[in-house]
Symmetry: none
Subunit: 257 residues, 5 copies
């Protein structure tokens, strides 16, 4: 008889282009106190990203309330990383701005945030009660603990995100096709790759995205490597060429000219 198509499915579909892939601009860094280059003019950043073909924006309720008109024709993912106590308020707030998805981070193996995985799982449970799908971002131990960002830890962390009911998995690229393929194999939810710190080498980023898509990722959620670039709109367009157009890295690089 198949499955009922509930609001979880419908809202999640809002993030994806007709080809089932999604270019998500991550622009939620300000809620964590970041002050990166490229964050200075959010209105322009959002306007340019939408014009250049972003499928969705990952941002905050503050930006949604202020710039909602600008991003009204693309998907909206709301950062719900730091909810206190009963997270219901965060879920209903996200829905009150018309969010298509919530997003939460989890740090498997963290010695300091020992319940971050369980809290993420709880948030997924409550979000689903309200038919809000969740993007889960599993980072082994912490962002700072680079030594733990190995395929054998990224993989199980991602699997945990799927097991807890995460609907879309935002994971780190492992650095090479073979290990990324191994990480992807046992995951049973769609995967997008995150960008991380601005690498200052956009060709490398394009190469990683190209490989990730080739290995089965359905898209990206990338921020700093896009809006900290000198021509963010061109980077979005180039990313779109890779993700939706099958462009090679060389072809993507030409989009920057």
């Amino acid at each position: 008889l198949g499955a009922h198509f509930t609001g979880i499915d419908r809202r999640m579909a809002n993030l994806f282009a007709a080809d089932g892939k999604s270019l998500i601009l991550a622009f939620d860094h300000g809620i964590g106190g970041a002050n990166y280059s490229g964050m200075a003019n959010p209105e322009k950043t959002l306007t340019d990203a939408v014009a250049a073909g972003a499928d969705a924006i990952l941002t905050t309720v503050g930006q949604a309330l202020r710039f909602g008109q600008i991003i009204s024709r693309v998907g909206l993912v709301i950062n719900l990383d730091d909810l206190v106590d009963d997270p219901t308020y965060g879920v209903t707030q996200a829905l009150s701005v018309g969010a298509d998805m919530g997003k939460v981070i989890a740090f498997p193996g963290s010695p300091t945030h020992v319940d971050s995985v369980h809290r993420a799982a709880r948030l997924c449970a409550i979000a689903h009660q309200y038919s809000l799908p969740m993007m889960v971002e599993p980072i082994p131990v912490s962002f700072e603990s680079k030594a733990d960002h190995t395929p054998d830890k990224i993989g199980p962390a991602a699997r945990m995100a799927a097991e807890m009911g995460g609907d879309l998995l935002k994971i780190q690229y492992t650095g090479e096709a073979s290990t990324f393929r191994e990480v992807m194999a046992p995951l049973f939810r769609p995967v997008i790759v995150l960008g991380g710190p601005n690498r200052g080498n956009i060709r490398e980023v394009f190469t990683d995205v190209r490989t990730a898509i080739d290995e089965g990722a359905v898209g990206i959620a990338i921020g700093r490597n896009i809006w900290a670039h000198e021509t963010p709109a061109k980077v979005v367009a180039a990313m779109g060429a890779i993700i939706h157009g099958g462009a090679s890295v060389d072809e993507a690089m030409k989009e920057l000219n």
Copy 2:
């Protein structure tokens, strides 16, 4: 300082094309017990309408749960005409399938449904609590009472729908540009025109839609005149040409060939 852009605004935007207009296929007649020609194969009707360019579908929770995949890339309006007592359940149900808008009918002047206007107003109030915008369809007295469907009754009925907080007004075309213009003048919410019974004369329908759009309507919510036609997909495409493409009636007629 401007207004916050909340989920009411964002969800409503989901129904409209970039030009601010919307072609809504009305396909919610089954919930009322109708058995019109053209209702036999809902999967095909929905598939064809989406492929032909419908911007949104007005339907029921049942269809949304069953055919949600098919209509996942267009706007979704859920019929909430017949809620009992506390209508909160209807609003949360609509949101549980990811609806972008609810729809309710009101019969100003009805001797039998004396509180239909007040019930519609209550539903708008509760829907707004959940950031769900509402389409209100004000029909003077009743569908059967054709003698009451005059401009001097259609106008005030539509105004009532706006005053109660309706976000989108689904009204009857008055039959001629001059009276429709008068009806539109004092309305302060966007208006779409409904189709009514199958007239068996698609040129007439096109003519009415063309005139309504020219007089300021932002779209249509038409059912029987579309899916009871022998080539529904062509009618949708022709309607789209009128609404979004500025096509004349003659040009629209050519789309049917």
Copy 3:
């Protein structure tokens, strides 16, 4: 020690000028299906009324959501006449648009609306739970039953409105100073006079308002006699001169030139 100054007091104060008087433009007729001359351009009507010195607007949630920016610097009274069942939704809706007061009608002696007084009392009770003050408009029997609009019926009806907890009484002028004085004497809540149908004789209206203010009324809530006039903004200014400036009827008439 005196009374606590709660939100009921504070919100009510928002309607009044520093002199304790209030010129309220009634513009909520559309919700009842009216289509009077002067209602055609609500945006202009509200803009002109505010510019000309109205202290508050009595209107609907629909207008508040649409024209809220225009009326953001004057008091806001929301029509709550026709709530269904548990009226809590109406009170919370009024507060959701930032209303300073709700308004409800009551028909003492009505043979058809036998519980209208009790429903108004219930609404006052619930509104007070939410610190929303209420304007109560007691009309003997019905608007149509002119024979019942005599001082000996207007007075007790107004007293009922005060007794049920109405915070501001919107009553009919009795037609002459002496009877109005008698009506006012036993009332223990502030009184404003309503305007009723457009009389087409603005001097008469000014005369009634002048007398009512002289006899202790704190203001007016008048609609049709203002916005159905050919120069509504001038009528508002003239009313302001009477209410706030102590102008005579002759002086007020000069404002219309």
Copy 4:
């Protein structure tokens, strides 16, 4: 189609003069146990401030209940800094006294109040459910940690307040135009500057306010530097001349004579 104008927008507008600017007297220090000079006669302080032109008062529910009549014609912001667990009670209490806005502090980077940012975000979410706008006051680390009150920390802290959905940002002046300009640039919500401890040098305060307004701040929320002055009413009037009248510092100083 634009955005609905809800109670969040309307209540916030109550704080501002017609020029879109606001002079807010901060007088909520007693709730924290302060006993500063100038707090001895709250009735007089409030009366004088309102008479001298304050647009709004930031205070406590206690003062609102006791002195509500005095401040009934200016905006009311209620201090909600110290709510326990489910903050719904604080929001409904603020609304019960007719507040136009709530206010909450956040200490990004605090080692002792590690969840103060997340608690402030939660309060904003819940306040918005009730259509109450929020003033957020982001202070890097703590009031005592002066070394952290640098532009590179004030800026990101303020951005966090905007991202979490704060409607009005109460921030520290950075000490000079150039750095304040940089702090302001990426903020997407209106900013007011706070006063901090009594500096005993009112010219300096005027200079800072003049510069902040010139750089785009929409007003101030200043307490001790006003009511601890020997002639508070004159300071309020002088501040008003700067904020609303475009007065220079020299012109403002003359108001004190």
Copy 5:
């Protein structure tokens, strides 16, 4: 009159074959971050296990949401080991995917998880409020503390699980018939045995299961020793022969050929 047969009883019955015994495939390890051999292809694992005769699957909400169709004809137990705060959300989430039972672990005697028993008891209480039966898995001290896994500790731990209201007890096999018999004697709830780490010796596992069933266990919940085997489907079939068919160990071994 006997006892009411409530949803607790009915749901629990869904796990058992007509003979009152149950072969449960444990496949919930991913939620804890495990990355064991055999977890790579969950879709195949579940498909094969069902085809080979598993009576139920112990897994996660994530797998249930993703692979629910595959396991729709067998019992479903949801891992609820790591709930935060009020566990109601976990119980309702399990019911939202149609679970027949929840599962929780408890560590009697743990010096680090001092409240794990009480938390398990709380979860049983809340699950029963919702008529969800609970599988309780009592492990003395910890999985790592092998020295504590003696019959005199396994027995009391299991008794605690029964006393707290556990409906099905998932316990460790003690290694020999006599001690297992002693452990079983005072338990007043049905018992299943767990498998633990992959022993690489399937005959030993069959021997333990055979003995446990002979001593009164009603089934098994075994994972790694099944799906980490080279022919998992054959192991399931062999286990079924032991549990439901009365097969000897030798007969079971023949199923692997």
